[in-house]
Amino acid sequence: MTLTDRINQAARRLPAWPIYIVGVLLPVWLFWQAASGALGVDPIKALEDRLGLWGLKLIVAGLCVTPLRRFAGVNLIKYRRSLGLLAFLYIVLHFLTWLLLDLGLRWEQALGDIIKRPYITVGMVGLLAMVPLALTSNDRAVRWLGSARWQKLQKLAYLVALSGGVHFLWLVKAWPVEPFLYLGAILGLLAVRMIPKRFRLAA
């Protein structure tokens, strides 16, 4: 039995719900660490950064599902919804940390930042693009929209990923490596989707 078969077999047996449990516990744990000083002397920034980065990781993980099935024959599609919904949760919490804890509800500054600061604008675009994705993440929405239209709508995920990668790169000072890696991974994962279907490699 190949590794692919083994993964697929395991995936058939393992349900998706534990991902939600672990995924919801992570922000609780991060918040607890931030409040207790375990995240250093600037806990607001640390919490903001970690939530944003976990959100981005999940977005990248979600983008991996389709290419893995197409090129490696690994079918993890049943987990994709949980990855997407958790990414949405983390990015909403990332936004709320910024608005409530970092800016302390200085509405004027928050609105000014969203409009005037391109990296924050881009981040907001990504967050807003996630809203219809989250709202249509249930089976009823798929039936209501019809499969074709639903799939089309899900392409918003590409915009979400690009916004997230650009947002990260745009906010740093100097040129550290990490944001380039994320944006590179996102661009790569979008590029493989443009390979024509006849190049399907795995069975």
């Binding site: 409040a35 002397v41 600037d42 200085r106 005037k116 600061r117 000072k173 100097a174």
Partner: protein, 306 residues
């Protein structure tokens, strides 16, 4: 069959008692050192009227949260990576338009100097702030001793380049050496100090040991660390962050809540040490030193000279 024990050691092989005791002392001493950390010299200093009465940050905040890209871009990295830095011997090249140029040993620079405690607000361009009890002396003291020639208009500073000990310099994150500069009147201002310590002790390495600049009304990156060169010049010197992104980091970089960084607002700041629910406070013009320094910029448009 039992074998007979034949000693192959003589009295001459016995470690003399003095050496034996000495070794124990060494071991005990090493153990004590590793518990107490490197011994830091207490500095003699006097208090200063220029100090703020705001509560200084915890020493753990000041030592543990640093922007010092020579030792990594993470805030916690310098506190670990800087410990390798050799700060003794240390010499500073003073050159350009001065009467007494030369390579000065740090001890010569400090001889005869009265160290003062200056409790200053520190405002980072990233919109966070601290209050730091620096120990130092006015830069003007040094400039007066070395004799600034009348043609000089600016002071340029450089940080040490030593990639073997400064791990961040192995990557071209910035154009090394780190460079900063001040206009001569800014450099001569009594608020501008060269700091050699904080909290009454020698400067921690991650904070710019053994000698650094502190200009409290400017964003933190102007206060260059671990200085090895001071040059007097008649040209506005190149400065690192300005070279990296001239639109975002001006030569003056005075703290100014009304002139935003292109990517973030400078209207408010997060005081480090406030915890998760500490919120923000308004940023003050010239970081609260307006009455002392506003006169330096009379007639200048601070939105242009940012």
């Amino acid at each position: 069959m039992p074998t007979k024990f034949i000693p192959d050691l003589n009295w001459s092989d016995v470690t003399p008692k003095a050496v034996f005791l000495n070794r124990r002392q060494l071991i005990a001493g090493a153990a004590a050192l590793s518990v107490a950390g490197p011994a830091v010299a207490k500095l003699d200093y006097v208090k200063s009227d220029y100090s703020t009465d705001e509560e200084p940050n915890d020493i753990s905040d000041i030592r543990g949260y640093n922007n010092f890209y020579e030792f990594g871009t993470g805030k916690e990295e310098p506190s670990v990576n800087a410990q390798k830095l050799t700060v003794d011997p240390w010499s500073v090249k003073i050159d350009g338009m001065v009467d007494k140029p030369g390579d000065y040993d740090l001890a010569d620079i400090l001889s005869g100097v009265t160290l003062e405690e200056r409790i200053y607000r520190l405002r980072c361009v990233e919109a966070w702030s601290m209050v730091v009890p620096w120990i130092g002396f006015p830069l003007a003291d040094l400039l007066n001793r070395i004799g600034v020639q009348p043609s000089a208009k600016f002071v340029a500073f450089e940080t040490l380049v030593r990639p073997e000990e400064m791990i961040g310099q192995r990557y071209p994150i910035l154009d090394w050496p780190y460079r900063e500069g001040l206009r001569l009147d800014e450099a001569m201002h009594p608020l501008t100090i060269l700091a050699t310590g904080l909290y009454g002790e020698e400067m921690p390495k991650q904070n710019g040991a053994p000698i650094r600049l502190v200009v409290p009304w400017k964003y933190g990156f102007k206060s260059i660390k671990s200085i090895v060169r001071i040059s007097l010049t008649d040209q506005m010197p190149e400065t690192t962050w300005n070279m990296q992104n001239p639109r975002e980091y001006g030569f003056y970089s005075n703290v100014n809540p009304t002139v935003d960084h292109p990517r973030w607002s400078q209207a408010s700041e997060r005081r480090i040490g406030g915890g998760l629910f500490g919120g923000r406070q308004d940023t003050l013009m010239f970081n609260g030193y307006e009455e002392h320094v506003a006169g330096l910029y009379a007639g200048q448009d601070l939105t242009k000279d940012y």
